[in-house]
């Protein structure tokens, strides 16, 4: 977070929104696949507290971008990176100054097998596996981060032939959880619950090995006059949402 002004603007708008919150509104949200579980948890709380209704569509950041560009009726965009929302903002499809980082993603090397990974990169370096799943590095920020890690460790060339790509980070997880790939780079949020690993084994990749995954939110033009859209963005910056977001393994 570098800009402060958008936040204060948003706070003002949200203040107005709260006055009108007696009227329950519906907000259409486009959400990056990796944020599926935390958003569902946040939406439940938000709906209870404000009476608004959240309708969420989950997908790959690039795919949602294409849909928004072509008139999809989304009002809030929660991306998995910071460049795609910035593009929409400068193209005039988002409300200027409404963009902020709602979460910072963590990358994890994960296996569905309980004793496969020992909390280090040893298994990755030994290379005794058939398939390593990643998300498409050109379309998904977590896929890009995964290739940065392989580059930093000098393993890219050695492991290239073992890489299998999911179209989104969700599909990469699917490949690993069905056992078709022994291990894969996924978002920590996908395998983390209530502050710990849900199942399998993992190596939480040090943040120094990949560029920060800033996940930015943007108020879209269609949501400009919807108080529920403003309220949701305000709620995302509040302490209740922050607690949920960090419990899923994101940083704030």
């Amino acid at each position: 977070m570098t800009e402060r002004t958008p936040r204060t603007c948003l706070a003002l708008f949200a203040g107005l929104a709260f006055c009108a919150s007696a009227l329950a509104e519906e907000v259409q949200v486009a959400v990056a696949a990796n944020f599926t579980a935390p958003l569902q948890a946040i939406a439940r709380k938000f709906e209870k507290e404000t009476g608004h209704n959240v309708v969420a569509s989950f997908g790959a950041t690039g795919q949602l971008y294409a849909q928004i560009q072509h008139g999809a009726p989304f009002e809030v965009y929660l991306a998995a990176d910071d460049s795609t929302p910035a593009k929409l903002e400068s193209a005039g499809l988002g409300v200027a100054g409404s963009r902020f980082t709602y979460a910072m993603g963590s990358l994890v090397l994960w296996s569905a097998k309980a004793d496969y990974l020992d909390g280090s990169d040893a298994v990755l370096k030994q290379g005794q596996f058939q398939h390593l799943a990643i998300a498409n590095p050109k379309a998904a920020p977590y896929g890009l981060a995964a290739t940065q890690v392989l580059d930093k460790l000098g393993l890219r060339a050695a492991l290239q032939s073992k890489l299998v790509e999911g179209q989104s980070i969700t599909q990469a997880l699917q490949f690993v959880s069905t056992g078709n790939a022994e291990l894969g780079f996924v978002a920590l949020s996908q395998v983390f619950k209530d502050g710990q690993l849900g199942s399998g084994s993992a190596w939480i990749v040090p943040q120094t090995l990949y560029a920060p995954i800033n996940q930015d939110a943007l108020l879209l033009k269609q949501g400009q006059h919807n108080p529920a859209a403003r309220a949701l963005l305000e709620y995302l910056q509040g302490p209740q949402a922050a607690a949920i977001i960090t419990s899923y393994g994101y940083n704030r």
Binding site: Y65, H131, K138, V164, Q167, T178, G179, N180, A181
Partner: protein, 225 residues
């Protein structure tokens, strides 16, 4: 033209997959269609329904079941592993097997219709002329069912070219092995490379139109006989 080597590789791979699948399906589909056309067994309807399933199931369902069953814990995966073949997901062979399921009805149904249309009379006539059943099949049935075979081959090929969901679920997007044209189009759209997406998508559109045009033109000529 903004197409890259990866795009051409994807097109070539698609044609290879569709050709192989079509040949295999004609070999597998002919006995199934023949049996379905002739049998009076109570199994005719259930088997016919199973063959037709891919017509109505979303490809994601077929892809999901294949992903699970071909995986190391699934029954196909266990079988291939015990044969020393490893698992079939993320391989070209895996795509061929997926395509066989996916395009099966498009080959079996035209063949079945063709066999049913021939009826019993020509075969009985052949039998009175002392042709053995195999002889009768190759010299009587095959020539009479030729239009059915052409339709089956074209539909099987074209439908496999258009396969997307199954490949997406079990392919892993590996260039030269599982990255087919439809997936490559999806990649281009996702990464906002719309010029390349347009070229490939336009090519697919033209190809599909020409295939269907050829199919319908052939039909009109045959009906005119």
């Amino acid at each position: 033209m903004p197409l890259t080597q990866a795009d051409f590789d994807a097109v070539l791979l698609t044609l290879k997959l569709a050709s192989l699948t079509t040949v295999l399906l004609l070999l597998i589909g002919t006995p199934i269609a023949w049996w379905l056309a002739r049998t009076g067994s109570w199994l005719k309807q259930p088997i016919g329904a199973i063959v037709a399933l891919p017509l109505v199931l979303p490809p994601t369902v077929i892809g999901f079941y294949l992903l699970v069953s071909m995986g190391p814990h699934g029954f196909i995966g266990q079988l291939t592993q015990s044969l020393g073949l490893g698992t079939l997901t993320f391989t070209f062979s895996g795509l061929v097997i997926g395509s066989l399921f996916y395009s099966l009805p498009f080959v079996v149904q035209p063949l079945q219709n063709a066999f049913e249309a021939i009826g019993r009379a020509p075969l009985e006539a052949a039998a009175t002329l002392r042709a053995n059943p195999w002889d009768a099949f190759f010299t009587v049935v095959l020539p009479l069912a030729k239009p059915g075979f052409i339709t089956a081959a074209i539909l099987g090929f074209a439908h496999t070219v258009g396969e997307f969901g199954v490949v997406l679920m079990i392919g892993g997007n590996i260039p030269g092995k599982t990255q087919v044209a439809s997936v490559q189009i999806y990649n281009h759209v996702e990464t906002l490379e719309y010029a390349q997406a347009h070229w490939l998508a336009g090519g697919m559109l033209a190809f599909s139109f020409i295939v269907l045009l050829a199919l319908y033109s052939g039909r009109r000529v045959r009906q005119g006989w």
